[in-house]
Structure formats: structure tokens, C-alpha cells
């Protein structure tokens, strides 16, 4: 299913990088303020679903490069890894471990740790799931 509107067919390709940046920002600010992996993943999925609505799922799959299902297992795997890190470096499952803060130009103070790694897993899982369902509904074939 492709749209007949020229604007809608072309717009998503332009918007795609912008939406992905928005998704990354939403994801990153999520540890202390509203945002996070779940909502970031949904925003990220939206970028590709818009392409699919505008130009069909074949194009969208090509633009996305990886299969939605691959994002899914990668995401669950990363989340699981953050659990196991709690055992390796800490006292138990999901024990939060943090790197020292460091400065990055333009972004400012960066504080990375296992909770953020878990959130990255959520981000990828949600993005994989939402694109899989979004594409599948258009293709009538889950």
C-alpha cells in the first residue's frame, strides 16, 4: 500500500534522520526526566513506519537495513547482559554499576551505567517489535 500524495511519499525520507535523533535524545534523557527506552523505541520505530506508509514496506525494510526481529533479540540480549553484569561486577542481579562522569563536547556531562544499558535493550526491543508489527499490518502477513 503506497500513498498517492507526493508530499507524504517524500517527507518521511527527510524526516527520518530528525526523528531518529529525537528518539536518541528521548532515550538518553530518560534516566532522570521523562523519556527513556520504551518511549524512545516507539519514536524510533515511527521513523521507519512513516517510510513504510509513504513508500511501502519494501523500501522501509531497505532503509532500515536490519530485520525487526534482529533488533528484538539483540535488545533482549542486551537487557539480559545488564542483569548478568550485576553479578560479575556487583552484588546481585541488576545491581546498578556506573562509570565515572566525563565531559563530551556539545552534550555535556555523560554518566553511563548498567541501568542505561538495560534501557538500551528496551529501546531496541520496542523498536524491533513496533516496526515488525507496523510493517506486518501493512503486508497482511505477520
Amino acid at each position: 500500500m503506497k500513498t498517492k500524495s507526493l508530499l507524504f511519499a517524500q517527507m518521511p525520507r527527510v524526516a527520518l534522520p530528525l526523528i531518529l535523533v529525537l528518539a536518541a535524545v528521548t532515550f538518553y534523557r530518560g534516566h532522570h526526566v521523562p523519556g527513556g527506552g520504551f518511549i524512545g523505541g516507539l519514536v524510533g520505530a515511527l521513523a521507519f513506519i512513516l517510510v513504510a506508509l509513504g513508500q511501502g514496506t519494501e523500501v522501509a525494510r531497505k532503509v532500515m537495513r536490519v530485520e525487526p526481529i534482529s533488533l528484538l533479540w539483540l535488545g533482549v540480549g542486551i537487557a539480559l547482559f545488564s542483569l548478568i553484569l550485576g553479578f560479575i561486577g556487583g552484588d546481585g542481579g541488576f545491581h546498578g554499576l556506573w562509570l565515572d562522569e566525563f565531559m563530551v563536547p556539545l552534550i555535556g556531562k555523560v554518566h553511563l551505567g548498567t541501568p542505561m544499558l538495560f534501557d538500551l535493550g528496551v529501546f531496541l526491543t520496542v523498536m524491533g517489535f513496533a516496526t515488525k508489527v507496523g510493517f506486518g499490518l501493512q503486508e497482511d502477513n505477520l
Binding site: 526481529i69 540480549g77 542483569l83 553479578f87 542481579g93 541488576f94
Partner: protein
């Protein structure tokens, strides 16, 4: 091995196996191996947990090192540990049993990861010490089961799955409302903390409401009267391995949740709930076994028997004496093994003859004496013929009933046993003993049957073993029951010693 790792392993292993399974989704052979390895890992982790929990009592860990009641606790007492290992055992047998179907391409590339996710949900429900977290694990389990139920896309499957989905979503909503009410009232969802706060006398008002809501939710999932009708209409439609694992395990998760919440939190505060459970259990036994008597499809009959057997277990819970609870635990363990095996056998019959309709089957006793023996042992254990495991399970429940002078319950339990025997004899006579009807397909398909037979034989041996050496398991069940009836140990393991300022009244016994 630290307690924390021990408690997390039954969750980490299936999650890892599911991730690897998704990664290998184009390679059926490797996926099957991952399925077997993951389930075997769960079984081993469960047995380690049993050994540890039996040695030191209740073990607990807090995820993320956030102290309870703020963090999510994982707790294993003897009951939870036993359930985790039996869950691992069923998954292990199922993974071997599925080999044939996987090789034939009948289960597709997502069966193994979905089954592992399902098991993660099941094990999580057994181990969690938090009511809301239990809801989340239930959802993990349900989402996986929705898809497993419809693998194959047959019309009949979709019809069964529709009922299953709608009723289970209803149950989930009730669960959530009940949990929400508890949170609104007590400000905590950690079950040990709920128990502590309920010990204060002024907190009793809303307990009954949330207790009834949770009873309805868990009862629906466990298949209690009058909410069981989704079960027989959906369990006979999916591939045999899937219905076997569902039949063995999923209703027991509801039963486990009922046991946990009732003994830990509600029994002391709202004894009226126990009376309700008592009445429901009797109705469940009778309606299940009557449904079974009326049907003529092997897997449908067996599905109705799940319902009636759940009635026995819940009756044990309702009586709330040490021997009754021990009997209920023993019954649960025995029934998981047995029911899975009966569904396994029906799958073998289906594989050989292409049908489960009693009218179109026959003569299997001559054609395949071995499968007949396996079915015979399991069916008669289900009916409670000594010296098989079902006899001891029923005996404990009936003895508990006699102790309490609950003559009505004893009569219903014994009558249900007779009717169970009747419908098992019906299957035996129709499928195995009678001559095959003229138009029936008697060209048995035997090639590649062995992966399906291995778990059948294994479970038959366990059933016989549980009958002969059942004393050890029953002694364990008694120790588990003791823990359930005295929640102090559980509470102190989760919240730390000294958490209890007032004495928690042990779950009182109810006189029906």
C-alpha cells in the same frame, strides 16, 4: 553459588536460550538443541534451588540491590523451589518431544524461543515476591501462550484461542484491579510487606474485596468453577507438545498463585475466602469430571480432567491444615507430571493414527503394547489406583477431610475418583482395547517416533517412582506446608529479621 545467582538462574537461562533461539531462527536442528539445553539448565537450576531451600529454609534476593519493599524481591521457599524444578522437568521433556515436530517443520521457527519465554514467565511467577511483578510474569507467560496456541493457523485453533485470549485478559484485569486496591490500601505490593501490614487489626476492611478479585483472577487461570470453560475449548487444538505443556503447567501457575497469596496474606484476615474456595473446589471437581464423561475426544476428555483435578488441589488448600496443604502440594507435583504424560500419549496416538476421536480409534493394545502400558499406568494413577502416585495424593486430601469431619468433601472427592476411573476406562476401552472400526486408518506411522516416546517413558517411571518412594516427596511437601502455614520465616527472609513487630497469625483452619 550465591543465593542471588541461584534465584536468578531459572530466569536467566530461558531468557538466554530464547535470545539464542531467535538468533538461530533459520536453523531448526540447532534450535531444537538450544531448546533441550535451556530446559535442562532450568531443571538443574531448579534442583539446586530445592537442595538449597530445603537445607536453609527460605532464600531471597533483591533485584538491583534495592532493599525490600522498594526493590522487587525474588524468593524461594520449598514450594516455589519444587515448582521451579517440576517446571524445568516438563519443559525438558517437552523440548525432547518437540524434536519430531520441529524436524518435520510443523512448529515453525518461533516455537523454541516462545517456549523459552513462556517458561521464563512461569518460573518468574513462581519466584517473585511481589504482587505486581507476578502480574508482569503472568503477562509474559500469556503473551507467549497466545502465540503458541495459534501456531499452525487452523480455524479451530483460532476459535479456541479467541476464548482463551478474551477470558485471560479479563482475568488479568481483575488481577490488576485487586493488586491496585491492595496498593491503595496498604501502600505496598511486596507480598511479605503486605502480610506484615495486614497483621495490624485495623487493616482488614479492603482485604476481602481484593482477596475476592485475586481469587477470581487466579481461579480463572487455574480453571476453577465456573470460569473453566475456556480450558477444554482451547487445549485440544494446538500441536500435542504445546497442549501437553499447557495442560501440565499453566493451570498450576494459577494454583500456585492462589496458594501463595492465600496462605501468606488473606487466610488469616479473611477466612470467608477459604469457605468460598471450599465450595468452589467441590463444584470444580464435579463439573470437571461430568464434562469429561460427556465427551468423546481424547484430548477434550483429558482437558476436563484437568479441571476436576484442580478441584482436589484447591480443596486441600481450603482445608488449610498441615496435611491438607501437604496433600495439595504433592497433588500438584504429581498432577503436573501425570497430565503432561497423558497429553504426550494422546499426541503419540494422534501421530500414528492421525486422529484423537475415540470412535475412529481402536486396537492399539495389539498394535503398540508399549504405548498402551504407558497410558494405562498414567490413567490409573490419575484415577487414584494404588500403588500409583495418584492414590497417595488423593489419600492425603481425603484423610485431611476426615480429620476435619468434612463428610461432604470426602464423599465428593471419592465420587469424583470413581467417575474419573469411568472416563479413563472409556478412553482405555475405545482407543486401546476394542477392535479398530472397519473404516479406521490402521496403517500406523511409526517412523521417527522415538523422540516422542522418550519423555513418555521418563514420566511413566516418575509416576511409578512417586507411588513407590512417594514418602520422600511427601515429607518434603509436609515441610513446605509448614512454611506456608507459618509465614514468619518467609517474611523475615524478605524483609530481614525483626520486620515483624506484631505476631503474624498463622493461617487459621476453617471448619466447613
Amino acid at each position: 553459588m550465591s543465593d542471588a545467582l541461584l534465584l536468578f538462574l531459572p530466569l536467566i537461562i530461558p531468557a538466554a536460550a530464547a535470545v539464542i533461539g531467535l538468533f538461530l531462527r533459520s536453523q531448526c536442528g540447532l534450535q531444537a538443541i538450544i531448546g533441550v539445553l535451556g530446559s535442562a539448565g532450568m531443571l538443574i537450576a531448579g534442583l539446586l534451588l530445592v537442595a538449597r531451600a530445603d537445607a536453609v529454609g527460605v532464600i531471597a534476593t533483591q533485584s538491583g540491590m534495592w532493599e525490600a519493599p522498594f526493590g522487587i524481591s525474588l524468593v524461594a521457599d520449598r514450594l516455589a523451589a519444587a515448582m521451579v524444578s517440576v517446571g524445568g522437568l516438563v519443559a525438558f521433556a517437552g523440548a525432547i518431544y518437540a524434536w519430531r515436530d520441529l524436524a518435520d517443520g510443523k512448529l515453525g521457527p518461533y516455537f523454541v524461543p516462545l517456549m523459552q519465554f513462556l517458561m521464563m514467565g512461569v518460573q518468574g511467577s513462581f519466584l517473585t515476591g511481589d504482587l505486581f511483578n507476578m502480574y508482569v510474569w503472568f503477562e509474559v507467560m500469556l503473551v507467549a501462550s497466545f502465540v503458541l496456541l495459534t501456531l499452525g493457523n487452523k480455524r479451530q485453533q483460532l476459535e479456541g484461542a479467541l476464548k482463551y485470549v478474551i477470558l485471560n485478559i479479563l482475568a488479568s484485569s481483575l488481577f490488576l484491579i485487586g493488586a491496585g486496591l491492595i496498593y491503595a490500601k496498604l501502600g505496598t505490593l511486596n507480598m511479605a510487606d503486605v502480610a506484615v501490614r495486614l497483621a495490624h487489626p485495623e487493616q482488614a476492611d479492603l482485604v476481602r474485596t481484593s482477596g475476592v478479585l485475586l481469587l477470581a483472577a487466579f481461579g480463572l487461570k487455574a480453571g476453577l468453577f465456573p470460569l473453566f470453560f475456556w480450558l477444554p475449548s482451547s487445549y485440544h487444538t494446538p500441536r500435542p507438545v504445546i497442549s501437553a505443556i499447557f495442560a501440565g503447567l499453566l493451570t498450576k501457575v494459577g494454583v500456585y498463585a492462589l496458594m501463595r497469596t492465600t496462605t501468606l496474606t488473606f487466610a488469616a484476615k479473611a477466612p470467608v475466602l477459604l469457605e468460598l474456595i471450599y465450595v468452589i473446589s467441590l463444584l470444580t471437581m464435579v463439573s470437571g469430571v461430568l464434562g469429561a464423561a460427556a465427551h468423546f475426544d481424547m484430548r477434550r476428555i483429558l482437558s476436563f480432567h484437568i479441571v476436576s483435578q484442580i478441584g482436589y488441589i484447591i480443596l486441600g488448600l481450603a482445608m488449610m491444615t498441615p496435611i491438607a496443604i501437604a496433600g495439595a502440594i504433592f497433588y500438584t507435583l504429581h498432577h503436573i507430571v501425570l497430565k503432561t504424560n497423558l497429553f504426550f500419549v494422546s499426541g503419540v496416538v494422534n501421530y500414528m493414527r492421525g486422529t484423537n476421536d475415540l470412535a475412529r480409534l481402536g486396537g492399539l493394545v495389539k498394535a503398540t503394547p508399549w504405548i498402551s502400558v504407558i497410558f494405562f499406568v498414567s490413567a490409573f494413577s490419575l484415577a487414584g489406583i494404588p500403588p500409583l502416585s495418584g492414590f497417595w495424593a488423593k489419600l492425603a486430601i481425603v484423610l485431611a477431610g476426615l480429620d476435619l469431619k468434612a463428610w461432604g468433601a470426602v464423599a465428593v472427592a471419592l465420587g469424583t475418583g470413581v467417575l474419573t476411573l469411568f472416563s479413563m476406562t472409556k478412553i482405555w476401552a475405545e482407543v486401546f482395547w476394542k477392535e479398530a472400526p472397519e473404516d479406521a486408518n490402521t496403517t500406523d506411522k511409526r517412523t521417527g517416533l522415538w523422540p516422542m516416546l522418550v519423555p513418555c517413558v521418563l514420566f511413566m517411571c516418575i509416576t511409578i517412582g512417586l507411588g513407590i518412594w512417594g514418602g520422600y516427596v511427601f515429607a518434603y511437601a509436609e515441610r513446605a506446608a509448614e512454611q506456608l502455614l507459618n509465614p514468619r520465616e518467609y517474611i523475615e527472609a524478605v524483609l530481614g529479621a525483626g520486620a515483624l513487630t506484631t505476631d503474624v497469625p498463622g493461617a487459621g483452619r476453617v471448619h466447613p
